[in-house]
Amino acid sequence: MTRFTRRGLLGTGAAAGVLAATGLPVRAQPKRGGRLRMGLNGANTSDSWDGRTHSDIFMSSAASGCVFDTLTVVAADGSLQGELSESWEASSDAKTWTFNLRQGVTFHNGKGFGADDVIESLKMHVGEGVKSAAKPIVESIAEMNKMTDHQVQFVLDEGNADFPYLLADYHLLMYPAGQIDEAIAKGIGTGLYRVQSFDPGVRFVGTRVDSHYKDGEFGWFDEVEIIAVNDITARMNALLTGQVDVINDIDFKTESLLSANPNTEIFEVTGNQQFTFPMLTDVAPFDDNNVRMAIKHAVNRQEMVDKILLGHGSVGNDSPIGPANQYYFANMEQHSYDPEKAKWYLKQSGMDSLSVDLSVSNAAFTGATDAAQLYQASAKGAGITINLVQEPADGYWSNVWLKKPWCACYWSGRATEDLMFSTAYATGAPWNDTHFENERFMELLVQGRTTFDPDKRRDIYYEMQQIVHDEGGAVIPMFANFVGAKSSKVTNSGTIGNVYKVDNARVAERWWMA
């Protein structure tokens, strides 16, 4: 889908010339002031300021986006920047990392930020019975040593060249040491906005702190209000009637209302969010790679992007590494719908036709059932009969995913190649949803962790993507865009982060009133 964005416009020299000739400012200077109002979904009555429990855009926007900071941050352009840490360096085996913390930072209650806060905030995520989404990251740290008040050393179990990227995870918020319980109850962080009021599942209001280390760079609003609007139609109404300035996840069926309205516009970026159909590679008939390849060639990917995502996405290539990753192999040979090739692969495995069950529910992703029906129709042309097994949405993740030989699934992607592969493709990983095992792949995985040279890393991760593409068990037909909409009252630099929804949940930090 072609769409004129500010970014696209700037990218073409002619358009830039026109802009220059008309004397329009190419990029407005940010200015302080105003109240940002966002209508976001994903709010729950169970929400709290505990970063370990955050799982959706509402709380990550309020916590990592307003009230709290992390040690590092992925900037809108995808580069890694320091947030509460100023710089870091690693030993040559990538096992020992030293982080220099920012000095003179204070929490909203006046306490100064230092090494103790880092150590205690990270330790929250590990321990007996602790349930944190970031547990694997912190568990990989064998030792945390306070070198000075503003320097921390991490010794990892195994080398990991991506370690600073992992610390940008939105769960790894920094709390004041010794006051963590209170900070969780009240929302005391080092972020740009202090909590004015918070009603779980309903509303958050934050006020800009008077002086902040990001002054002049980020944090342009005087106040931020985030309203929980879980219903998609209500969200679009709220934007159209001017009651909020930014919303996430729009309804594609009625998006024309937003684009037709001169006061609203859609913004979207392609990130790593992917909709997948994982096959268990150790269960017949999927244990035969020819069968897997036949199935991979029996899906019309572009049709799925057009009909399920209504154009708001791009075709996948059976590799989980997406455009938001550093070493995305964009030029890998594209798997496409090819019934003849599929039949050829079937013949290689000694079959003329194939009949398989596909377990689906819309719990896997919005439109999963429809996507499976499209799959069923296109596979028929390749001599593959897909029997759709409608599964209940309740308990889908415990009873179907990882259990049924072939089902529907989604992944929001991971910040680094290593993390994505380690989580979902490494031998023995609990979430290896294809039971994929490959010796060369594992060798490269370990090698990649201790390699710093960007060229060598590129070679490693390209090869890994190729292996998964050629032999893996996951059919990844599409990558879904992060789509949101905004009113003309607010604006941004034109670069929108693609790691997570609505500018990596950092609208309150990066945007300003137009």
Partner: protein, 334 residues
């Protein structure tokens, strides 16, 4: 003992018995839901160990009968329990909430939402009840006239349309085309009454459209029914004006069915407005209920069900008592 008082006490006791039966039904229904809190909250990360750990923490591994009686016992002492969802960060995650305010109880969670719901129901009732009574009386007075037909068609078509459709029509006319009212009912505690009324008006108007038809038509039917009675004919023969015939002669005798219908509709306003709440993002108890069902937060679901059941029982009781009081024959039985 006064017969009315006796009836009230009888009905209250019966109500309690009904509640007990309802509590069993609720408990069985909630238990019949597929999946449980542990699976719902963990989602994709529901490994068998994590699920078992949460179940153990919450006592979900106990047999159903044990859980029912411990819930009932707590309920009798007025303890609605601690919501699983809020207990989440206090106990599952390894920190105690000692220095904080402690885990939020179901009561604390429900109270503000229930107040919002009652506010919305109240505003709706204040608009809907007088409007439907007046329209009903006028329709009876001018029955079969163009006015009567018009009112009936309007009321019937609004009650036949789904609530969300009415809501969107109102949003279209009152928020999008003529931006006079907000489409988001963003209600919070430190809000002035005027502001709150403004934010509540659109959902209240939607609900008014939904409940008016039944009350209006019941008023009309009850009055018309009486207009055929000999005593009304007598009043007419005496030369009393039609308005007076209806308001002072027919209406008092038509009150009983009208009151019953009003009570039913009020109960609906408290328990059944979740669709309207979702459309307007009104933080009422209906949304809390649906959110809680979604994540299988059983203590909240059960407490909400009990509140809904109590609202129905109490309002019906009230309607019965008022019907008796409005009828001298029942008020003074021979």
């Amino acid at each position: 003992m006064h017969p009315v008082l006796k009836i009230v006490i009888q009905r209250l006791l019966l109500g309690l018995l009904t509640l007990l039966v309802v509590s069993i039904v609720i408990f069985l229904a909630v238990n019949a839901l597929p999946g449980d809190f542990a699976q719902a909250i963990l989602g994709q990360s529901a490994t068998p160990e994590a699920v078992a750990a949460i179940r153990r923490d919450l006592g979900l591994d106990q047999p159903a009968v044990t859980r029912y009686f411990s819930w009932l016992a707590d309920m009798l002492t007025g303890d609605l329990g601690v919501s699983f969802a809020q207990a989440n960060f206090a106990s599952f995650v390894g920190t105690s909430a000692e220095s904080g305010s402690g885990p939020v109880t179901v009561l604390q969670q429900i109270t503000p939402r229930f107040q919002n719901t009652m506010f919305l129901a109240g505003v709706t009732a204040i608009i809907a009840v007088p409007v439907s009574l007046t329209l009903g009386i006028l329709a009876a007075l001018y029955r079969n006239s163009a006015f009567d037909r018009g009112v009936n068609i309007f009321a019937l078509s609004s009650v036949s349309s789904p609530e969300f459709f009415l809501a969107y029509i109102l949003i279209l006319f009152l928020a999008v085309l003529n931006p006079v009212l907000p489409s988001l009912s963003n209600i919070f505690s430190d809000m002035g009454l005027g502001e709150r009324l403004r934010a509540t008006l659109l959902p209240a108007l939607t609900l008014t459209l939904v409940v008016t038809a039944q009350m209006m038509r019941m008023t009309r039917a009850a009055i018309i029914n009486l207009l055929a009675s000999p005593y009304i004919e007598m009043a007419r023969l005496k030369g009393i004006s039609p308005t007076r015939v209806i308001v002072t002669h027919a209406l008092p005798n038509a009150l009983a069915p009208i009151i019953t219908v009003i009570a039913l509709n009020l109960a609906y306003l408290i328990t059944g407005v979740v669709v309207v709440e979702v459309v307007f993002v009104y933080p009422g108890i209906g949304q809390l209920f649906v959110d809680s069902v979604k994540i299988r937060d059983i203590p909240v679901v059960q407490a909400c069900c009990l509140i809904f059941a109590s609202a129905y029982i109490l309002l019906n009781l009230l309607a019965d008592v008022l019907s008796i009081l409005s009828n001298p024959r029942l008020r003074h039985p021979k």
